[in-house]
Symmetry: C2
Subunit: 203 residues, 2 copies
């Protein structure tokens, strides 16, 4: 049996859960180690020795090599699997959504959730750009999903994995998904495809 | 001869120039079309029809297919070339740096440059996080480059292309590279490798 890789992550973080879902989906043996981000776990010297960028998730391979950045990790783990399209343009489109997720979705939806849900701030204290741009991101996904079952055509790919991570928690960031019926159907399809069940709140 | 692809970009944008550099470096025929971002070029209906996300760069292929997100575009263009390592872990490390660039470097260094250089704001008006996190990013690059000639080992990859884009313009964002001698040597090596010459200011 292959030696397991170790995932260092916070169980409340969509970025970290992405890595666990992909490892589980692929049947890759993995050990999870909790890192408490709100409690300063990514600022401790022993964590910074593994990732000087001070962010989770990271994966440590049996040979000691460390990889960071959730989307780089899941691409590496899923290489050669059906979660990554074979066709070059579909693969490029998957990458497009994954870069978009980190630049135009996570910084608004995940950050607003963190502010409200973990830091217990109230909406009036927050930068209004978080709500505006988060809504822009959800709208673009809704429009895309009106034309195809998944973000890249008709099969589940890492683009869906990357984007489901915080979309399923968006209500905790104050984003009401009631008006996004197509997005909600997609959420259910992706959760079913990954075998992760509906989101029941942070761990 | 292959039909050219069309790059829509702003010549002052590092994200857009990345795409041109890679196309030129690979000898891929490409036509450049200027989009004036500060002048609202990405908000016009004809541009939004190509990219509903309203961002440059985009590439339009001869068959009409459109791809966005600078790093997804350059990966697609450079697939199979020496700009992308063959070894799986080196390839994953390249992706790690490219996701890091869009999340932890561009949003501070490029955004601060845009505020100062294009919007003519003064440092006191800016969110202090831009300077702090931009300096963190430069420091992490400097430390990495003390151990290897390029970001992923000893050869130029797309990780360097992605990160050189705004690092060479960092002084326009108020980041003084005087203390980063290793980073400055790397800048010169990457510019030489891409055949783009030293940065002489925005077009």
């Amino acid at each position: 049996m292959a030696e397991p890789l170790t995932i260092y992550g916070d169980p409340g973080s969509g970025n970290c859960l992405k890595v666990k879902w992909v490892a589980d989906h692929l049947g890759s043996p993995a050990t999870w180690r909790d890192v408490d981000v709100p409690g300063g776990g990514t600022r401790r010297p022993e964590f910074l020795a593994l990732n000087p960028a001070g962010r989770v998730p990271i994966v440590v391979f049996p040979d000691g090599a460390v990889l960071s950045e959730s989307n780089a990790i899941i691409i590496h783990l899923a290489e050669g699997s059906p979660l990554i399209p074979q066709a070059p343009f579909a693969r490029a489109r998957m990458l497009q959504w994954m870069f978009w997720e980190q630049y135009s979705h996570e910084p608004y939806i995940a950050v607003r959730r963190y502010q409200l849900h973990y830091l217990k701030r109230v909406p009036d204290e927050l930068d209004p750009k978080l709500a505006e741009r988060g809504a822009d991101a959800l709208r673009l996904m809704e429009e895309t999903l009106e034309r195809s079952a998944f973000l890249v055509g008709d099969a589940l790919t890492l683009a869906d994995v990357a984007l489901v991570a915080y979309t399923r928690m968006a209500h905790e960031g104050g984003f009401d998904l009631a008006d996004y019926s197509t997005l909600r159907s997609w959420l259910g399809r992706v959760e079913a495809g990954l075998g992760i069940g509906a989101y029941g709140g942070p761990a």
